[in-house]
């Protein structure tokens, strides 16, 4: 089934709110650093190793810095162990989110670490790095990690350099899983970003008979996975106007799936709070199934 942008409600108000948020974020950044940032945070290190080790030297925005610092400690250096698989989170430029970090870092790193625990148990032959691993798109080292994960892309605002690197990454063989964004105006933001990133490739709905739903677990139904707050208290599963979950994708000209978009659902929270006795296990179960299938698919197609 082909995705038709006309069916998605667009909201001028949403853009106005977005513009206001951008403005507010920019002012906050100016106040914090005393310097005018370029469009969004420029996470510019020359390779993956330096991106992590030399992050205090890089011109990271203070929000991102704080998140990095909080999770600076990893028991194992990701580049010393050299694993086959890294669950790499894209540290994209975007608008400040809820006042404390870049939107890319929502649920980071607990969701990532917890997903790896489950993933390694389920895919016991996968030689995976146990911890979180975040990289900006402009990092040339990104090309060594052909699997990318992103959340809250409703707040994503890629810089031209990031866009160019990410486009190249995807066309060269990278695989990008997008998760945890809701409603029509967040969709509109992603759609705008993707239309700049991969203008010639349409976004299509992935049918349930696509191999991505069957390469490890047989997923028969697309569930809406609520965030931890709503999940715990049995509230509605949706957020904003995102009532129906979708799994959409972008294929290259050879039919290779480059981008998987999980819209109106929050797999990340389900991984992150899988151990929470109040969070419904059926959502965690489903989220792990989807996550494992994404990894298996990415590592085989």
């Amino acid at each position: 089934m082909r995705y038709d942008p006309a069916t998605v409600p667009s909201s001028r108000t949403a853009f106005l709110v977005l513009a206001a948020a951008l403005l507010a974020g920019g002012v906050a950044a100016l106040v914090a650093t005393g310097a005018a940032p370029a469009a969004g945070p420029q996470i510019g290190a020359s390779d993956g190793r330096r991106a992590l080790r030399g992050r205090q030297r890089g011109p990271l925005p203070p929000q991102a810095m704080r998140t990095f610092e909080r999770y600076l400690y990893r028991p194992v250096d990701p580049y010393e162990v050299q694993r086959e698989f890294y669950f790499t989170r894209l540290a994209y430029s975007g608008h400040m989110y809820r006042g404390f970090a870049g939107s890319w870092s929502i649920d980071y790193p607990k969701a990532d670490r917890q997903f790896m625990i489950g993933l390694k148990r389920l895919l016991d032959q996968l030689d995976a790095y146990d911890y979180d691993h975040a990289l900006p798109a402009t990092d040339p080292g990104l090309f060594r990690f052909p699997f990318l994960y992103s959340v809250e892309v409703g707040y994503m605002a890629l810089s031209p350099a990031e866009r160019e690197a990410l486009r190249r990454y995807l066309l060269a063989g990278g695989f990008w899983v997008i998760d945890d964004f809701w409603g029509s105006w967040e969709w509109a933001n992603l759609e705008r970003e993707l239309s700049l990133l991969l203008p010639e490739y349409p976004i299509v709905e992935l049918p349930l008979d696509h191999p991505i739903f069957h390469c490890f677990y047989d997923v028969e139904e697309i569930l809406q996975v609520p965030n931890v707050g709503q999940g715990r208290y049995g509230g509605p599963t949706w957020e904003q106007d995102g009532f129906t979950p979708h799994v959409r994708g972008i294929f290259d000209e050879d039919g290779r799936l480059m981008v998987v978009i999980n819209w109106n659902t929050d797999l990340g929270d389900a991984w992150e709070w899988a151990e929470d006795e109040w969070y419904p296990v059926r959502f965690s179960h489903y989220a792990y199934q989807m996550g494992v299938n994404f990894v298996v698919y990415a590592m085989s197609h």
Binding site: P146, V295, S300
Partner: protein, 772 residues
């Protein structure tokens, strides 16, 4: 030497060989001569005793005193020998009662201008002049004693009335067949022998020996007269082309072309490869200064499906004597079919993903993969209606042997049962398949393969690595470099131009590997290597060797996918795709099919006998002898001929039949093998029928051939212009209508010389002794 013998002994050694020695004088005279001789000897010795009055009585002189009587006695003996009338009895032919067949090479190679004795300088001219030129020509001489029959030959010999009928334009010269045909033509006549005038260029596909044996059995000596120079002065020849009979569409074809030369040592020439009039490659070849031949390895892409005739040619060089041998062709069938490859991977990893992706657009490669995701959970991909489904690694030979190649990824040895390991070795050794061993943390020694049956597959020596050593260490920053063998191997040709390809390798992003492979097995060849500070010797990156009928290739890095996904590699770059396409095509090239059919060569002359050879095997690649095998041959006209093939008995599963190719053009063979009514399989092949001009290759006079014909049939090699000698040789032949003839030997110059020497010697000694 022969000339000196003839001067001294009056006749040639050949006559002494043929003849019988006798004394012609009557018996009484012989007795009388002997008695007289004895008396004379006695007299001579008494004369010695009378020598007491010699002047010189020194010890030396005393020792010489016995010599004069000895010399005198020997001189007398020589005279007595002459008186006894020694003679050589020869059986010679009765004039005009026996026949001689003069068989003249009427082929194109006789037009070569390398016979300076002729007026026009050609071999043909020399033959014509020798046969029927001025008075005293060979035919005239022969006609004095024999009934001469003139025959001309190309593929076969035919009678001609005069030398004017010789055209020297036939495309073929099959000496053996021609001689037997000539013998048959003159069958029933008293035949003294055959005279063969030729340059010795023999284009017959069959061994000459059979024909020579027939002639020898029939007692027909062949006298050979060679024309042309034994070595051309200035010539370049494409003497041999070794090309695969079948390749996959889009593959790089590797062809060995041997160029011979005379007079062009040190010269660099362009060897062009032409596909249907289109030049697909030009290779520069430099002839060695010292040697005469050089073998060039030419590579080009075979992109068009069907039977393609590739032409390999060198442009004529100034002063070259023969231009028609500057090209040769090879028929290569470019197949559009999907070779099935089974990729067995022990863990999810990017290397296998990108490898499959690199070849996914290749219509000729069908990679079926089975990846272990979790313990005992496999993910199979690309199975279709043509491939059997199974989970894990096959347990039956039929399941595995259906593939042409197997790629073994990072899977530890302990996963496999002993039978599965043996089956995989048999896949290469018996089925003839290709096995590619990929590097990875569970591959090779690091996967515990040392000491297992699978170790046999590895081209690199494996070492024993205890399982408790934990995770193997990764060697990083490996910059790949070509070995000398790798510099000319088709698998390493990542650019169309060889030099560009060789320069590319060191510039590619560095890779890493878990394999500490530094030692090659005997018989294995390394194509790529890399230096690492972690090992003292260069690390082997790409190596291969043969295992029985098949081959095994080792590629030790585990992250060649960085050549696809690197910030330094442009998006449109095809290096990674090309590497794996070539590697997998190489893996499955020359892998035998269950049913195969092949003509004994790819190209034949019209009228040749084509031997068809089929091999029939069952699903497990066991040879089948009890099968009904029929080859249907589609001729260029579209007409179809069926040739039943019979089990050859010499080899299991081999079926043979013959067919005579008539019209020129492309023939298609389709063989159908059945066992007890059930179809085992079908195979096809092609061959071409055309004028091959084989005799223009190696066009210099082939003395070895001419000598062999003469010596094996009891004839002799004769020089052009020695007609008299030829007549004499033929006259004393043991064939034909014969008469005995005694030839005097008393007047041999040697006897006179001996006599003079003996008498002179006696006189000299006597002088020395003061008796003269």
């Amino acid at each position: 030497m022969a000339g000196l013998f003839e001067f001294l002994f009056k006749y040639r050694p050949a006559l002494f060989e043929e003849g019988r020695f006798t004394l012609v004088s009557p018996v009484w005279m012989q007795v009388a001569a002997l008695l007289a001789g004895a008396l004379l000897v006695v007299a001579a010795f008494s004369y010695r005793r009378m020598g007491s009055g010699v002047a010189d009585r020194t010890a030396g002189a005393e020792r010489l005193r016995w010599l004069p009587p000895v010399f005198r006695s020997l001189a007398i003996a020589v005279i007595v020998f002459c008186l006894l009338q020694p003679a050589l009895v020869l059986s010679t032919v009765v004039p005009q009662e026996t026949f001689v067949g003069v068989v003249v090479d009427d082929s194109r190679s006789m037009a070569m201008p390398d016979e300076p004795s002729a007026e026009d300088g050609t071999r043909a001219g020399a033959v014509l002049e020798a046969l029927s030129g001025e008075a005293g020509s060979m035919l005239d001489r022969l006609a004095e004693r024999f009934q001469v029959r003139l025959l001309a030959f190309g593929r076969s010999a035919e009678r001609i009335e005069s030398t004017e009928q010789l055209r020297f334009a036939r495309a073929d010269s099959r000496i053996g067949e021609a001689l037997v045909a000539a013998r048959d033509e003159l069958g029933g006549l008293p035949l003294s022998g055959l005279v063969l005038l030729s340059d010795g260029a023999d284009s017959a596909p069959a061994e000459l020996g059979d024909a020579l044996l027939t002639l020898k059995a029939a007692g027909t000596p062949v006298y050979t007269v060679g024309v042309g120079r034994p070595r051309l002065r200035k010539d370049i020849e494409v003497s041999r082309v070794v090309a695969p009979r079948r390749v996959l569409e889009g593959s790089t074809v590797e062809v060995e072309v041997t160029l011979s030369q005379a007079g062009f040592g040190g010269r660099t020439v362009d060897l062009e490869v032409e596909d249907d009039g289109r030049i697909v490659n030009v290779e520069q070849v430099t002839f060695p200064r010292g040697g005469s031949a050089v073998t060039a390895r030419v590579m080009f892409a075979a992109n068009d499906e069907g039977a393609r005739e590739f032409r390999f040619q060198v442009a004529g060089q100034p002063g070259e004597e023969l231009l028609m041998n500057n090209e040769r062709s090879a028929l290569v069938e470019v197949l559009k079919r999907r070779e099935k490859i089974f990729f067995f991977e022990g863990e999810p990893r990017d290397e296998s993903k990108f490898l499959r992706r690199a070849v996914s657009q290749d219509e000729n490669l069908h990679v079926v993969s089975m990846t272990r995701q979790a313990a005992n959970k496999f993910y199979g991909m690309n199975f279709d209606e043509d491939t059997r489904r199974f989970e894990g690694f096959p347990t039956r030979r039929e399941e595995l042997f259906e593939y042409s190649g197997v790629i073994l990824g990072s899977m530890e040895a302990s996963f496999f049962t002993h039978d599965q390991m043996r089956m995989l070795v048999d896949f290469a050794a018996q089925r003839g398949g290709g096995v590619l061993l990929l590097g990875g943390r569970r591959a090779f020694s690091e996967g515990g393969f040392a000491g297992t049956p699978l170790a046999e597959l590895s081209p690199v020596v494996l070492y024993d690595r205890p399982a408790d050593q934990g995770r193997p260490e990764l060697m990083t920053d490996l910059r790949l470099e070509l070995t000398p063998q790798g510099r000319s191997h088709p698998a390493t040709l990542l650019r169309d131009d060889r030099e560009d390809a060789n320069e590319l390798w060191p510039t590619l992003p560095p890779l890493s590997a878990y394999q500490r492979a530094t030692e090659l097995k005997a018989g294995a060849t390394a194509l790529l290597q890399a230096e690492s500070p972690m090992v003292s010797d260069p690390m082997i990156v790409l190596a291969h060797h043969r295992i029985g009928r098949g081959r095994a290739i080792a590629f030790t890095p585990h992250d060649s996918w960085h050549w696809q996904m690197s910030a330094d590699i442009p998006l449109e770059d095809q290096t990674h795709e090309r590497l794996w396409r070539q590697m997998l095509r190489w893996l499955v090239s020359y892998v035998p099919d269950r049913i195969e059919i092949e003509a004994d060569r790819d190209r034949f002359e019209p009228g040749s006998t084509v031997t068809l050879r089929a091999t029939v095997r069952d699903e497990a690649f066991q040879e089948v002898n009890r099968a009904q095998v029929v080859a249907a041959i589609e001729q260029p006209s579209g007409e179809e001929v069926e040739v039943p093939l019979d089990w050859s008995v010499e080899r299991d599963g081999e079926f043979v039949g013959t067919f005579t190719a008539g019209e020129p053009g492309l023939y298609r063979i389709e063989v159908d093998a059945r066992s007890e009514g059930e179809l085992l399989g079908v195979a096809t092949s092609r061959f071409a029928v055309e004028e091959l001009n084989e005799e223009l290759f190696g066009a210099a006079r082939r003395d070895s051939v001419l000598k062999r014909i003469a010596s094996e049939t009891g004839g002799r090699q004769v020089q052009l212009g020695q007609a008299e000698r030829l007549v004499e040789d033929l006259s004393v032949s043991s064939e034909g209508t014969l008469v005995r003839e005694a030839r005097d030997l008393w007047d041999m110059p040697i006897l006179f010389l001996v006599l003079v020497a003996l008498l002179g010697g006696e006189w000299a000694v006597r002088r020395r002794l003061g008796m003269a």
